[in-house]
């Protein structure tokens, strides 16, 4: 056997566990999911082909649309807010102030915590007798009923999700530290002020990182599950916190409508892909690759 052939053979051997896993735990379920989405299926009985039935039913399902709206609302507010907040934190941390590693720990740590624990803590933080309303009371504001009012329940979830932006922040920080100092010096010689430096040097230089965080953010926030599931059982109050993945989960494992759940899954997949493609397309114009 030639050296080249041997190397190729070894390559296939080394990659084979991954390939088997890929087929077993991803490719097969992905294809099966697509098939089931056209079937009436629960684990207990064999799938029956029903054509586009699931999708038509989804189209007329009010709860489905409520979940879509809730999820869209969450993403539309949380994504920009988290991208801006985490970039702001990262820029503050990138100024070489004293105690930087302490601040970094404080901002980063919440993102590592088990979401269930975070949810439990925030149930209490936002309780009508919790710390937030107590602070508001101190400045003579009667705090809203964060958890029980349809107007505030989603805001509560957004606020506590923002508590976990540390991960995004750290990725920004790594990107900021890669920006060559010489560019800032050059901008200063050209008389650039802080905002001009941010706009003309920082943002273009870290634009690939922004894109990365945006895509990770889309994929993550569209799937939000644990926090509303633990904090607001059954989407209380009045389905205002019933999110897409929760409804999918309920259809699959509570109502045993697995074909229906698969149809929802594929819609989620396609929407995620479309949003990612749109982000990539738009970013073509604005993202600056090169140097750095």
């Amino acid at each position: 056997m030639t050296r080249q052939k041997q190397e190729a053979r070894n390559g296939y051997i080394f990659v084979s566990p991954w390939f088997i896993g890929f087929v077993l735990f991803l490719l097969y379920p992905l294809v099966a999911s697509l098939c089931y989405s056209f079937c009436d299926y629960s684990v207990l009985k064999t799938p029956v082909f029903t054509g586009l039935d699931n999708f038509i039913r989804l189209f007329h399902d009010d709860v489905f649309w409520t979940c879509v709206k809730n999820t869209a609302y969450f993403c539309a507010i949380f994504l920009p807010a988290s991208l801006v907040l985490s970039l702001g934190l990262a820029m503050l941390l990138n100024t070489k102030v004293w105690g930087m590693s302490i601040y970094r720990t404080i901002f980063y740590l919440p993102s590592l915590l088990p979401l269930v624990a975070t949810a439990c803590v925030f149930l209490w933080v936002f309780d009508s007798k919790g710390v937030v309303n107590s602070f508001l009371q101190m400045i003579h504001i009667h705090g809203p009923d964060w958890l029980a009012s349809t107007a505030w329940s989603k805001i509560t979830i957004i606020l506590l999700s923002l508590w976990g932006v540390g991960n995004t922040m750290i990725i920004y920080l790594a990107g900021l530290q890669e920006v060559p100092q010489s560019l800032y010096e050059a901008a200063e010689i050209d008389g650039a002020k802080a905002w001009a430096k941010t706009k003309s040097v920082t943002l273009p230089m870290i634009s690939p990182v922004i894109l990365f965080n945006l895509i990770i953010g889309i994929v993550g926030s569209i799937q939000i599950f644990t926090i509303p599931y633990v904090m607001f059982p059954q989407g209380t109050p009045a389905n205002s916190t019933y999110f897409y993945t929760e409804y999918l989960y309920d259809n699959a494992f509570k109502f045993h409508e697995m074909g229906y759940a698969c149809a929802m899954g594929w819609i989620l997949f396609v929407v995620t892909l479309l949003l990612t493609l749109v982000s990539l397309k738009i970013s073509n114009k604005h993202v600056h690759y090169g140097g750095g």
Partner: protein, 429 residues
């Protein structure tokens, strides 16, 4: 905006020195102002980020009553007590099953024994035991201290007895002139005397919740299960991804580039899409209710880790492998004896991130585990919350702290690794 002006303006050396000094001074002042503003912003934001931690810890050390007190109590308090023999009913000590127990006398039996209803320790509370009269010994009761008004004077007193009409019988301990006097008053008129202190009892209480009715300590099982699963997942992830990354980074085979792109593309598949058929696969294997659906897939690699390790493996000089090949090493030896030791920093990062992800996972255990004995910490905490939440906030916060603490401790020991890990993800590429 960056202006064109500096190009046309005279060189700095041509400026009058006085003006230059002024610009420098104002520049320094501006820099100082900016630094102060940065510090203030960081401190304010830090406080906001720390409040949930503070609130969790503070509540976890409070009594139930203090937890929901209005206005809120920021620093946990414990009530002062004074030992007294005068309390009612009197407290007696005896032995039961070889343990020292304390309780109140319920009745005298004709055979000379006494029936005692146990008050302490907590796990025997309410049990009625027979005890020979001779064994009983009266002991001091830690009576709670309250402040109130008696004969138009502010007094400090100890509570001797709870009366049926929500009044309390108390005995004055201060001032000296009224010491020993007893009076009764509505419990609401008597304010508990407290001092800052931590009610540690919440932690064992939360940790051992339900253990009496279940016959085992659930949180102990949650810890054990989580550690078992995460350990297997970490081992599997590190090993399988190192193998795959080696194939992608160091070996040439047909279809490698295309397959690598495919590998990256798998990152775009949301878990909910494959959730249902995956459940079907594990059901067919008879794995539902076991840990296997949670750890077995880890032994087959995952795209993100392959990507991360491939970047690192490519940076290790190929000359090392070539030299070893000349010395007669086979591919496995190249991988195991040469590459793995050199790749330890990257493997540690993968292990750490995997461990955290596994420790905090919720959806996986929720789908595959059904018996409470097999729950992980996240799932266990969620079930604790759904059953006991909304009432005993102090215990829920103690339970949350128990779940959060290992992650925080791990972070403090591995901070450097985390920061290096972020750099390693090679965002530039």
């Amino acid at each position: 905006m960056v202006t064109e002006e500096p190009k046309t303006s005279p060189a700095p050396s041509a400026e009058p020195s006085e003006k230059r000094a002024r610009t420098q001074r104002s520049g320094r002042a501006a820099a100082a102002a900016k630094l102060t503003a940065t510090h203030i912003a960081l401190i304010v934001l830090s406080v906001v980020f720390l409040i949930p931690f503070f609130w969790m810890l503070s509540t976890s050390f409070k009594t139930v009553k203090d937890a929901v007190a209005d206005p809120p109590i920021w620093i946990p308090q414990i009530q002062q007590t004074v030992p007294t023999l005068a309390s009612y009913p009197p407290l007696f000590q005896t032995t039961y099953q070889g343990r020292q127990v304390r309780g109140n006398i319920k009745s005298e039996l004709p055979n000379g024994n006494t029936q005692v209803e146990i008050v302490q320790p907590d796990d025997l509370k309410g049990t009625v035991v027979d005890s020979p009269r001779a064994q009983l010994r009266q002991v001091a009761f830690d009576a709670p201290v309250v402040s109130g008004e008696f004969q138009h004077q502010k007094v400090t007193a100890i509570v001797l007895r709870e009366l049926d009409d929500s009044r309390q019988q108390v005995q004055v301990i201060e001032p000296e002139s009224l010491k020993g006097q007893q009076f009764t008053d509505l419990a609401t008129n008597l304010k508990p005397v407290t001092h800052p202190g931590l009610q540690w009892k919440n932690y064992p209480d939360a940790f051992t919740y339900d253990s009496k009715s279940l016959g085992y300590i659930p949180f102990l099982y949650y810890f054990r299960n989580t550690i078992i699963i995460c350990w297997l997942v970490v081992v599997g992830t590190v090993f399988s991804n190192a193998l795959a990354a080696y194939a992608f980074a160091r070996l040439r085979w047909r279809g490698r580039e295309a397959f690598f792109v495919l590998t990256l593309a798998t990152m775009m598949v949301p878990f909910p899409v494959v959730m249902v058929p995956l459940y079907g696969v594990f059901k067919a294997l008879g794995w539902i209710g076991t840990f296997r659906p949670l750890w077995v897939p880890a032994f087959f690699g995952s795209a993100f880790n392959i990507f991360l390790l491939r970047q690192f493996f490519r940076g290790i000089p190929f000359e090392l492998s070539e030299a070893a090949t000349i010395d007669g090493a086979n591919e496995w030896q190249l991988f195991w004896d040469i590459l793995i030791p050199l790749a330890k920093p990257a493997l540690a990062v993968v292990a750490l991130f995997t461990f955290i992800a596994c420790w905090t996972d919720f959806l996986g255990p929720l789908i595959y585990l059904s018996d409470q004995k097999t729950y992980t910490l996240s799932l266990g905490l969620a079930s604790y919350q759904s059953r006991n939440g909304g009432t005993d906030w102090n215990l829920l916060m103690a339970a949350s702290t128990i779940v959060v603490a290992p992650v925080v401790v791990l972070f403090f020991f591995t901070q450097k690794l985390f920061i290096r890990g972020i750099a390693l993800t090679g965002l530039k590429g």
